[in-house]
């Protein structure tokens, strides 16, 4: 009996240690990846890269013979425009679905809907990209008379649909966190269900819903394969949703394989990696602080 308890105590310790290790490993991996990305491009970033050009020039000519230029403004504009459009799709659809699931359904319908939305998140991004390439491309040409269907609109819709599941699940959590007494009070005052949603629940869950949107943004900025296939991959600052663009992520994916390890071009791509890291870090941090704000109340 005593031996058994000794064993079980030892086992407990062991498992505890493993769990602590698992927890710490996340921090370790994030730090290690950031260090790797930074160090892989550090030499170029610190000594030879003109940061002014890097951030404000739209000319991306890493393989030019006569005049190499490393301007990422067009790529930033590409990422921003596609992400912006994606949010125009994902926010109404995502928040609408979240409200519907948490406020207007119950029982089986709710469970089925939740599962289906989660399934949407399980579709591989290359499949989304393929849909953009073979279904959306001819559709956009036919319906809008655009010269080419691989553009901001195509990428934005695809990315928006990809971000919907994240917005839905976090948005629904935020709505669920609003105490039932709020709903009851609102209904008791004679408000309709819709009125209580937008007059009471939205303000009460404000920061949680904002966090849902921001995490959706993070998802959209980081996505690579689908945008690589659906946006047309053209380095230019878009002036309309029907222009082709190229995103930061797609540039890394398309060009990293070609470069000799350690070359300036290789390191410039890691500089883009650092840039992306900074963007997603800020977005996620903002979302995290907002979620904390919700919990504190």
């Amino acid at each position: 009996m005593r031996r058994a308890s000794l064993f079980s105590r030892l086992g407990e310790r062991l498992i505890e240690a493993v769990i602590v290790l698992c927890g710490l490993s996340a921090i370790f991996f994030v730090a290690a990846i950031f260090l790797f990305v930074f160090l892989s491009g550090a030499d170029f970033m610190l000594h030879r890269l003109d940061w002014g050009e890097f951030l404000t020039s739209a000319e991306w000519y890493p393989t030019s013979v006569s005049n190499k230029r490393y301007g990422t403004l067009a790529l930033i504009a590409g990422s921003a425009s596609v992400t912006g459009l994606a949010m125009l799709v994902a926010v109404p659809f995502g928040l609408g679905t979240a409200v519907f699931i948490s406020e207007f359904t119950e029982g089986r319908v709710r469970e089925v809907l939740k599962v289906v939305v989660e399934l949407l998140a399980a579709i591989p991004s290359v499949v989304w990209g393929f849909i953009g390439l073979v279904i959306m491309n001819p559709l956009i040409i036919d319906l809008l008379g655009a010269p080419i269907g691989l553009n901001v609109l195509n990428g934005g819709i695809i990315l928006g649909l990809m971000s919907v599941p994240i917005v839905v699940s976090i948005g629904e959590d935020a709505l669920k966190a609003v105490p039932d007494s709020y709903r009851e009070a609102s209904l008791a005052l004679g408000a309709t269900r819709w009125q209580s949603v937008y007059k009471v629940l939205f303000p009460a869950a404000r920061s949680g819903l904002l966090a849902a949107v921001l995490l959706g943004v993070g998802r959209a900025i980081g996505e690579t394969m689908a945008v690589l296939m659906a946006t047309g991959h053209a380095v230019q600052i878009p002036t309309s949703p029907l222009d082709s663009v190229r995103t930061l992520t797609a540039t890394i994916a398309a060009e990293l394989g070609e470069t000799a390890r350690g070359s300036d071009h290789y390191q410039a791509l890691f500089a883009i990696g650092v840039q992306l890291f900074a963007i997603t870090f800020v977005v996620n941090l903002t979302a995290d602080l907002l979620v904390r704000g919700v919990r504190r109340r």
Partner: protein
Amino acid sequence: MNSTLQRAALLVLALALITSTGCSGGDRQDRTLVQNKGSDTMVNLAQAWAENYRRVRPEVGIAVSGGGSGTGIAALINGTVDLANASRDIKPEEQESIRKANGKTAVEHVVAFDAVVFYVHDDNPLTGLTIEQIACIYGEGGACENWSQVGVEVPGCEGQTIIRVSRQSNSGTYEFVRDHVLGKERDFKLGSRDMQGSKDVVDLVAHTPCAIGYSGLGYATVAVKAICVSGKTGEPCVTPTIDAARSKVYPLSRPLYMYTLGEAAGSIQGYLEWIRSADGQRIVGENGFVPMH
């Protein structure tokens, strides 16, 4: 009891599996695997060579992948492939990095010929372009943005804007066009749709009335039109065909290469010899490229 028995059976099975694969591994000891990577233009051709070579020398396996000429040569520098396919010459700085990394030089082997062909949509009435006009369309600072500027009106093309379809910058075809159409020192105009593969270019052009794109001769389909190119204004233009490419009458003909680290030896040498034999060159013709003899 039952489950113990099952477990024991499973263990025996697993052991048997391990030993059997171990044995077959032993049998295959003398089978060599050649890693072959690079040019997207050549990837179908290289695949066809590899498949046919299996019949000639079953003990030599050839693993082919694409990615672009630059990718193949980068892999050669990094030491991960034995044979790099390239649709352009190796650059001096690439040769330099190979010397630094491996202490060897890359040796060039011509394996076939090809022509870079400019394709337009089948509805496009355009027949010919001069190199100068192509440079005006594709080159940085070039003024040609509309089909009317090269003298045609394209039915079904909204706004008559020329949609430039190009290749990603590690493509050998991209660099060939830069060097031989735009001039080495000139860059491409930004805003072209940069496709990842030779076939993707032709596919996009086939679906886009406004588009023009370039790819290898072997990628021609019935849905696109290969345009006739003249070297200088006033000269007659030449339609890209196998004969025109072989006789170098077509201005954008080019050799296709395979590069090895140092002189080829052993199974790699055998493979290269077979590629350049009548048997290997027959496959070149079957894939729409230009045989050497």
